[in-house]
Amino acid sequence: MLAYIVRRVLFMIPTLLIISIISFAVIQLPPGDYLTSYVSQLRETGDIVDEAELAALKERYGLGQPIYVQYYKWVSGIILRGDWGQSMEWQRPVKDLIWERIALTMVLSGISLLVSWFVAIPVGVYSATHQYSIPDYVMSMFSFIGAGTPGFMLALVVMYLAWSKLGMAVGGLFSEEYITAPWNWAKVVDMFKHLWIPVLIIALNGTAGSIRTTRANLLDEMNKPYVETARAKGLKEGRMVWKYPVRVALNPFFSTMGWQLAGLISGQTLLAVVLSLQTTGPLLLRALTSQDMYLAGSFLLLLSTLTVIGTLFSDILLAWVDPRIRLGG
């Protein structure tokens, strides 16, 4: 087990290296460099350009030097000093901007994931054990619709209905007075009041897919001889189902958790934009449209890194749950 984990961790290193190169390439994509746009932005607003500050920035990012020097300065800044660069638009260090957003995103997505599993697993098991019954058909229909409707469209419709029928403006994670307020108990309570709509929409999407996975896997498992054996030994049906085939059928939940985690952080981007949630999505979109490239690049790097860690996490979990993988690999 330990050897397996060590091997996986070692494999992460080249992956992270390539990811950082790609993220850096994204920073470089728009024509011109950070400094040029910064200076022109300052000139536009009529500010005086401080030559000393310019020189300091130039040195910090290695601008004007070969591309690999710039890359090295960017990466080493992140690794050695925790310096993610400067957001041009916000005039603040990137690291001040992203962490709260990422934390909020993870809270939102984590809760949604738990809600969707909590619903999907029992429903999926019921559907599989009562195949071709009316509830099974209803659930299948529901999961087809849920899987076919992207979250952001659902969000649009929910917002429209809430506004036109209930006169309620849904959207955002906080009431206005709390948006810039420092964290305190009242803010947390306020957040949970707003949280249920996005959670519901994300969970609905996730549930649909999870029901189908659970149902299909359990149906496969139910035909296997060990199930027959357990039955022949006189185990009660309900106990037998939950104790053996369900556990095997849930394997994909672990193996896809890495992607789920990635989806958690990045997948709800569109939905977050529609509902104007204070999560990573809208900030990344704004960074991209206003060519705030250090912010965008750092986001991409951070999101990818989290995905890689998520994949590692789920691989370890899977190996732990399923000895065939641990011993065979």
């Binding site: 994509l29 649009l156 429209y160 506004w163 403006a169 991409l300």
Partner: protein, 396 residues
Amino acid sequence: MAKPDNDTLLAQDAAEKGAALQEAVTEELPLEEEEIYVASYWKLMWWKFRRHKMALVSAVFVILLYLVAIFCEAVAPYDPEEYFLKYKMAPPTKIHVRDAEGRFHLPFVYKIDRTQDPETYRDIYNEDTSTRYPITFFVRGSEYEMWGLWKSDLHLFGLPVPQDEQGVFLLGADRLGRDLFTRMCYGARISLSVGLVGVLLSVTVGIVLGGVSGYYGGRADTIIQRVIEFIRTMPHIPLWMALSAAVPKDWPIVRVYFGITLLLSLISWTGMARVVRGRFLAMREEDFVLAARLAGSGEMRIILRHMLPSFFSHIIASLTLSIPGMILSETGLSYLGLGLRAPAISWGVLLKDAQNLRSLVLVPWVLLPALAVILTVMAFNFVGDGLRDAADPYAR
């Protein structure tokens, strides 16, 4: 008893030789079981697909959608950029078959009158039941260039009166008074073809790399698998957003379109490559491959003539299942303003009108492109599901 035996042998032989011979044999053996026994692979697949009713209905729906997309100039009653100043934000025109006095007619619309609310200055559209306009098929209307090849002014349906007098807006008009149905027809062309073109690109790359990976194995396999694993660990949506934000804003529509399609297939080929690799691995050890090799077939011939046909149906199934993702991604990116931009028309671009909640309450029908996307995606999912079940017709 010798004769039926002989016939069965003949049938088996024929099944391998070709469809023409086979049908003759099938006629001689009307028994249902024997018909199954001699049916070709594709016939079996069709029989199995036919049993999946939702898939069948969805397939018809998808074909209809593509027909609309192909012939959108003629199906749409107007020009997509043509705006009717008189009908800004006009609601969907009601189509009647029964007039105010209770008499039945062929489908018609009433004349629409515009009045203004004295307080809010909002336009209010009322029907003037004294004037009827019949809906006419194959009517002459605004001129267009079909596929950029020849000029025509024939439209599938419309009103037989000049456009300034009255228009028919099946799905309402937008804020500038453009017909939403027309724009959705044109949008279908881009939205639906992004899926096809993107999938074709990713299938080509996927088959080649997945094939190399699965057939040769060894170092090539290791490298390709690592690349695939790597691409799959990148977070898709942020990456797409970042790359499509980098598409220059002054590019012509066609180039942006191909750029975005290329971006989308950049990631999706990995799924296809995995499917193909799995199939190749499973099949490499099969007897018929060995037989072909012993018979002296070249490698290309073994792959193309013997292996590819036997998992072709699986490819089609997973191909169908990957189209919806493409359509959704394009819609999402365009909705965010990162994909295609006006004046290009796609369902995502049209949905941008639905971004403002306040205007959405006044013109709720601008949400309809979302419905089109959802229906399309569901239809593709059903078709793909049916194809996947049918892909292995020998399985019970």
